[in-house]
């Protein structure tokens, strides 16, 4: 199962180390492949360095692509995390 959705970075300082850690923590143990696409760059969202490499700023859009068995739950969790600014 493959799901694609766009999300907006709401954090004031963009996708910095803390949100990136939150994403990696959230994806730990999930059985699907998760990719983020930002400015034509696609990366593996399970790797913190990859997320940090994007250096995504506030109010920019990231395309999330989730592929695998638990795709719907993973996507839901990710969107919620982006919406709640990763608890910031």
């Amino acid at each position: 199962m493959e799901l694609v959705q766009k999300v907006r970075v709401k954090n004031k300082m963009g996708l910095h180390t803390r949100p990136a850690t939150a994403i990696v923590k959230l994806l730990q143990g999930c059985k699907c492949d998760v990719n983020f696409t930002y400015k034509k760059e696609t990366i593996n969202a399970k790797s913190i360095l990859s997320i940090l490499m994007l250096a995504a700023r506030r109010n920019t859009t990231i395309t999330i692509n989730v592929k695998g068995a638990d795709a719907p739950e993973t996507m839901e969790k990710l969107i919620e995390a982006f919406e709640t600014k990763f608890g910031e």
């Binding site: 990366i43 593996n44 790797s47 913190i48 360095l49 490499m53």
Partner: protein
């Protein structure tokens, strides 16, 4: 492939090419379609059939002198036809002063007009080289790229299988890290793949339990490289008892990266297997193969010689050794 514009070329390579913008500033947003440049000799003479209008135009000595020798009216007519096209930009080499009609029409049609100091042929080859580089297809892949004994090894595998640890082990043994986690790959001249690190995270590593570390600072400049060709792909995977792993190594496997076939190895990982040593061995064996010696094939040939070669010789040898031993007794 993202679009490439004249302003990008001017900003990135203006100094290297010795460019000076003299007209058509409004046209800097023109798109460069193909990494090609040409000298419009025939179109200037009036032959417009099959004219490659998307190429960059370069006016050298001959073109400028030809324009000077033509009648002013013809000059305007022909330049007008040439500049109405989607031509990205016009370059005049050898610091020639462009005819005023060319200057005026470039302003009118908003085509950037540059003056370069290089000689025409040098300029064209340099420009083509830079543009080919900018236009070469690229992608981002997940894995670590390390230079091991001069061989570019791309280590891939699922997350937390130990890619970064393997790369760190290799660096510790004096090999060079190009990039960890995110490797950007560029296809050069349609044949060779070149990997390099991505801006911010270049030469950084993330190790579970330690965090982000800077390899260039920790191990010194000798342990890092900015780019390296990808000669080998090794996939690390958790040992699976049901999977039959290559035991002989006669068959060579390849994986397809951007249409280029790269030798590919699957390396099972389990406690007690020294991944770093195995990666070094794979790299060394690859070098040996490239030098024309394939250990597995040589071994098979020796074996085939013994099993299918003339039997008499073999029996004779055995008898010979047997008789020797008996004579000693």
């Amino acid at each position: 492939m993202p679009s490439y514009y004249v302003e990008d070329l001017y900003a990135q390579h203006g100094a290297a090419l010795g460019l000076e913008l003299i007209a058509g500033k409004e046209g800097l947003g023109r798109k460069i379609f193909v990494p090609e440049a040409h000298r419009p000799g025939l179109p200037l003479a009036g032959y417009m059939k099959s004219h490659a209008e998307k190429r960059i135009m370069v006016f050298g000595k001959v073109e400028i002198e030809f324009l000077r020798d033509t009648q002013p009216q013809t000059r305007v007519e022909r330049l007008n036809i040439l500049l109405k096209t989607p031509v990205p930009a016009v370059f005049v080499t050898r610091r020639y002063r462009p005819p005023k009609e060319l200057h005026y029409l470039c302003e009118k049609h908003q085509v950037p007009l540059f003056r370069a100091s290089m000689s025409t042929m040098n300029f064209i080859s340099k420009l083509t080289q830079l543009l080919t580089e900018e236009f070469s297809p690229s992608m981002t892949c997940h894995g670590s790229l390390v230079e091991v004994f001069g061989v570019g090894v791309l280590i891939q595998g699922d997350s937390s299988v130990g890619k970064s640890e393997a790369a760190l082990g290799l660096v510790e043994r004096g090999h060079r890290l190009i990039s960890d986690d995110v490797v950007k790959v560029k296809k050069r001249e349609g044949m060779e793949l070149e990997g390099f690190g991505a801006g911010l995270t270049q030469h950084h590593m993330e190790i579970r339990g330690i965090g982000i570390i800077n390899i260039a600072n920790l191990y010194g400049a000798v342990c890092v490289r900015t780019s390296k060709s990808i000669d080998l792909v090794v996939k690390l995977e958790v040992w699976n008892d049901n999977h039959f792993y290559d035991r002989v190594g006669l068959e060579e496997h390849f994986c397809n990266l951007m249409g280029v076939n790269v030798p590919y190895h699957v390396l099972p990982v389990k406690p007690g297997r020294d991944v770093v040593l195995l990666l070094e061995t794979i790299a060394l064996n690859h070098r040996l193969k490239r030098m024309g010696y394939n250990s597995a094939r040589e071994f098979r040939n020796k074996l085939l010689e013994m099993t299918t070669g003339p039997e008499t010789k073999k029996r004779g040898m055995r008898i010979g050794t047997g008789s020797e031993s008996t004579s000693k007794k």
